[in-house]
Symmetry: D4
Subunit: 243 residues, 8 copies
């Protein structure tokens, strides 16, 4: 803001121009969307598109616009059909089938020194786990995966505990009763990001049981993101890992 | 039924009398209640009064009637005021303050050889725990208590695991996220009766989080009773312990 | 644990080896899953795979691994397509269409002396019932079925009551208002495992009405498993039947 | 309406007067309330005041106005304090403590030939039951009470079944799992009005479990009124009994 | 029961035979179902099959059995495919497309003198309405339909009010906010059976808004059946109409 | 009403005819629907058909009837297939694909001087937005669209604030947490109509999170319509814009 | 904003001062609160304090600060005790007992030419109604009250319909099933602001039934504010009335 | 663990002693509680007691035990009465009235270089805010408070934005619609811990609206703790601040 104010003072822009400048900086109008480079321009962060409920041609259009800025790009909640369209304009795009995500890497991968531990309760949570992993990785974090170590056979978790403790931040993905974050939070002195999944049936009520269980966790250091929100967990973990 | 049919055949009762007999056996009319000796008469089980929402004089009236049968008596969800009235007609009555229960023991305590393990997650669940314990004990079971061993400091639980495995059936009482039964169910090869409690706040929603968590437990051998239903857990555990 | 500690004392393993042993015993890493033989190895129990949300090739892979141990195997919530793959590696596999389950019997069926009664309210609950039955049977229990005896025509239930009373434990499966477990619990002096089903419409809310009804049952000796959880009921019933 | 139209035709009222007549007939303005004699004037029905959330002086004011019409009067959901005020202006008023209701009988009790059966599951539902009974009685119905015959000791119900079948309509009051209306509906060929009560705890959720249970009842001929709505059940039963 | 007892007295059946008789009368075993002729045999009522969740061949099997008794038959929640199978064994079967029901009339239609008014709020509730109508008609009631008279254009309802008042009992079907039964209940002195439908979107939550609205109706004489339960309303209305 | 009363007085209609007139004016019977011209006739408003759950031939039939009155016509929640049928009888009909609506304009578009601002949080809410826009436009309002200006990049909204303030009434459409109406309501001194959408996943619970968020908005001047109810918002905005 | 930019250009403020000006204008810091005169300063609107959950001394402190600006003041959700403190610093303050509100009028009441109709379903909704009325009046609107005209005796409403139609905007307050706004919306061509109240019991679930009913209203022109939010309705009605 | 294993190897402890050591280290048995020094011993963290639902004498007993370890102590959810008891054994204890917390500082306050920003939406959330602040402070963090900057007057928030961006982690406390974390998350590139509060009424449903709003926030970098869980937020913020 100071820059713009400075321009006014120096008489380089009129007041009307200044008012316009205040208004239009930070995004590009695309008709069906206002593409926001605000954060990525300033920070070099990847640009992200939430693919669900968006038309394939809209996603492609947004990607096309983003490609001009040479940032990494991440498309989440998407399908192979979209990937095929994007490959045409971005041949180096990669499709992560399990994660339902597309990444386009424009900058070299400079892995963080510290890493993120990604812990999952069962094998049915893989899609959510991989969405978190792919997100964290396109943001240049090292991610270590510990899958299928849920509370029903908790000795599998204990065999990995020393490794997990070495991470800077831990993502725990679990469906059903969502008990695993309580266990992890009680044994690891690091921030725990809990991701409830909609995996389960009956009294699971589409993830409600896991969500409520994680929110009422009696372990400290645990916070929760939306049901199935692997991206949110990966993004937040990256933020904490890079502090 | 056969006995009554037999009496008819032998002509000892008329058909009308038989119809009456079919109808009235098993309970006594008290105006405000039909006291049911059905099960206790046959099995020697204690007689039980659910005290909540009952007037003190009604409870006392029912107890008076029951005293004639020389069975043990249990009053749950009750208060000291009721106890004071009952002591007059049953001087050997005992008040269990923490469990909010009254017991009257008419028969010697013949402890079972096998025992029930009673495991609780925190110190705030004590009322529900003790209701379960007092119930199981008036039904002549030996009960071993393992309190305050919840998942936030799960090493406290592990230090007791060998003992708990020796029980014939395990009651697990927990509020908040209700994760403990999953842990117990995963490590102990015995039937686990899970009791969610309404202890907690916020997203606990009066026990809903613990209830859903226990119902969706990924451990096998776990079943659930109503929120705060210590009596139900104690009764069922006694049934299983005596099989 | 003592065994491993013993090995250390005798100097047969180094401390590092011991730490490793503590960690890795009990499961096999399969990439997409950690297969847990922990319980089955020790107890001779069948090995169980929850099929829902698992890829067919993953299920087949896990079965392949399990076949090496000569235990009985149970796959639940699965489909014919998976069965066709498994038949190739396990020609003696059986598909239980109604129960949506696959069993592979490696050990002779030694039926228990006592049996489990399986009572259902209606004809629409059959899938859940049969999942419970197939589970209990692969765990070597005798199961007696009493189907379609719900409260709307309760005389059908009463005609079977003497038989049902002879069981060691009773599973009651019901949808809609879920009233049947209360009736059974009031008339049978055995542990009752209530299974709410999602059968119904409107205010049934996917099994919620049956679930809440069973949890608040005024009969004693009743506990509840998750909606449609036939496997859980069969497993627990087996546990109690074999005590 | 025809009467008013007739008056217009005959020129006895102007159009403006007619419009006014259309508007104002049927109630009296009291400032804080519009007292509606509409139905009672035409049918000789008692006049009813729902007492909850009304100021005592307002209730007394409404009663005073109603007394001019010599109909029976019923005040529901009220307390002794209100009764004491009303006794001053209506010395023959009666207070039904258990039902929390006041009645003023201005017309002789002409009992119906047929009667209403009032069945309750437990002793804790008495307030709701008595509200239904007092309502039906001030509407000149004979009411037969069958209390404490719930499903946990269902033989108590069966001993009364022949009597209950003689009623013209059956009210069934139950809390907890609300299973009794299903039993009654399955055995009695009469309309069953089910009243869920908020009696219970835990997963009862203030009557929700009983409400959902009754709505999803698999027995035919059962309909449901609001939780604890004894008045509504008594009123509807009276309507059906007098058809 | 008296009949059987009589046979015993007269020595015509042994006690064992009597016990059997008590058990087996009233239904026929079909393997997958226990067909209950109990009520229809005694009362001449039609026999009813709830078609949802039943296999076509099971429905046909049950119908085949029922055909022997020459009662009218009603199959609800069914589809054309089932009808085609049934037509083979019952050429006079009729399919009611809108009501999704099959009827087989074996007895002449003796219409009741009094009739049932069937009122619906909108045109989207027709399936539920017709299920109620077809049910009431196969039970030999005259039904008068008043469709699409909801509260948004309430003058359409008022134009029919005099006719509706002539019915003996009124069924009101409504989705969305379910306000129509309150209006009807306030203007018609007859029992009102309210049927909430799942028609709507958003905050309708599959019929919840209409259900709660009807349950809390401030009009008297209104009771409620399950969401979309046209059959239940038609059956109960028939019961009341024939009292 | 006065007109009809006047006719009676003048003897031009009999009383019976008057009663009939009272009843039948305002709608036309179509068998499957009562088409209500009441409001449109008097006000010149467009006639509206809610297309969801209606058969294509019914919609066409209603449109045919309406075409006689030369009012504009709006069909909401409909599909291309219906449009193709309607084009045959109304060649000037227009299909709004994104809005899932059909309009038939019979009167010239006289745009209002004042306008409605239509603000949306994201690109996934477009269907609901366009339903609101099309509705407001067929009611002759000028609508200005401000799409994709949600709180995650709130600077996009601020760049438009001066324009939005010039509207007479503001519609705000948002899914997920539904926070945008609070922001708008806090910064714009005009009535804000908030439309929650079902866009989202997990704890969104089909629009519940947005709905509750908007209802509890701490900004003044905000009111809420049903989830996804673009039509309702457009209609109400038109009403306010034309006051 | 332009004013501040202008000052910069003219060199009257430095850039740092400008940044500060941008930040601090519009509220006063009070330690426990940031009192916002933003809107009232510009528009002459009354200043409003939401009293619930605020300490009496805090409310008094905020009022004291506001008194300096000579605007009208409104305190909602408050109690007599607070009023007594405020009277000391503002002797002309008025307490509206039924509305639980305090008003301080500093400017003459210039009633609007048009008026707001305030319609309520029952006598138990008075507190919410009066909160709406007092709010609208301190904002200088004329308010006409139509109380106790709910759907159970809908003729009371019809007798007032011509008057209500003369209002510019209508507030409708209703508890229980919340059906009245649908009726009003169907008969009055003005914006209807619906206020659900928490008055009721049982399936009312603290206002949920009325809330859902109003949201799913099939009448057009109806929007909804939070349960019991009389202030919100009065504020919005004032906004619309003054357009 | 290695230490204990080492002792075995060296023969300094027998295997039985080792098993005991494994079990008992980390907590002290107090009869009513197992006091866990596990984490605080190792890390020098303060010891924490969750005061709600605990008897005063129990809290005092636990504090007494903890005092021996010279760590800082924090008691949350407590009352003045408890403080008075604790002051006797810990004269330097401090009571934080607004936060309902007691702190005992045994170690000097070594403030962190980086700090935590604590942002709240309104003045009614102060108790939750202060619980978070007191927690973070006893864990030796610098906390900067920004209170009463909610979305209804969002310019108050913007005036503080530059300061808030300097924090290492941001706690945002909000009730009602819980929109503030979305705004903060969209403008601040730091981890945001969102705390929903139960402040509100009506559709707030005890914090549900804020909770769901925060979980579905469309801003990245936001995670959520339980409703009113100020402690949890303070603890997690401390963890992140010290990474």
């Amino acid at each position: 803001m100071r820059e713009i104010l400075d321009l006014i003072k120096k008489g380089k822009v009129t007041i009307d121009e200044a008012v316009d400048l205040f208004r239009n900086f930070g995004y590009e109008e695309l008709g069906y969307a206002k593409v926001d480079h605000h954060r990525s321009l300033r920070t070099g962060y990847p640009e992200v598109i939430f693919g669900q409920n968006k038309l394939p041609e809209h996603i492609t259009g947004i990607v096309e616009l983003m490609l001009r800025h040479d940032n990494n790009i991440l498309v989440t909640r998407t399908i192979e059909e979209v990937f095929n369209q994007i490959k045409i304009i971005a041949p180096d795009a990669e499709f992560h089938k399990m994660a339902r995500a597309i990444t386009i890497r424009k900058k070299d991968f400079k892995k963080t020194d510290t890493h993120i531990a990604l812990v999952s309760a069962g094998t049915s949570d893989l899609a959510v786990c991989e969405e978190a992993a792919v997100t964290a990785e396109i943001f240049d974090n090292e991610v270590k995966r510990y899958y299928d170590v849920g509370v029903a056979g908790i000795h599998r978790f204990y065999s990995k505990i020393d490794d997990i403790r070495k991470a800077r931040v831990v993502i725990v993905v679990a469906g059903m009763e969502g008990a695993l974050p309580s266990i992890v939070g009680g044994m690891v002195d690091k921030p725990v990001i809990a991701v409830p999944t909609s995996v389960g049936y009956g009294a699971n009520f589409n993830g409600l049981s896991a969500l409520l269980g994680m929110l009422t966790s009696c372990a400290s250091g645990v916070s929760v993101v939306n049901i199935d929100n692997g991206f949110g967990a990966g993004y937040l973990a990256s933020m904490i890992n890079k502090l």
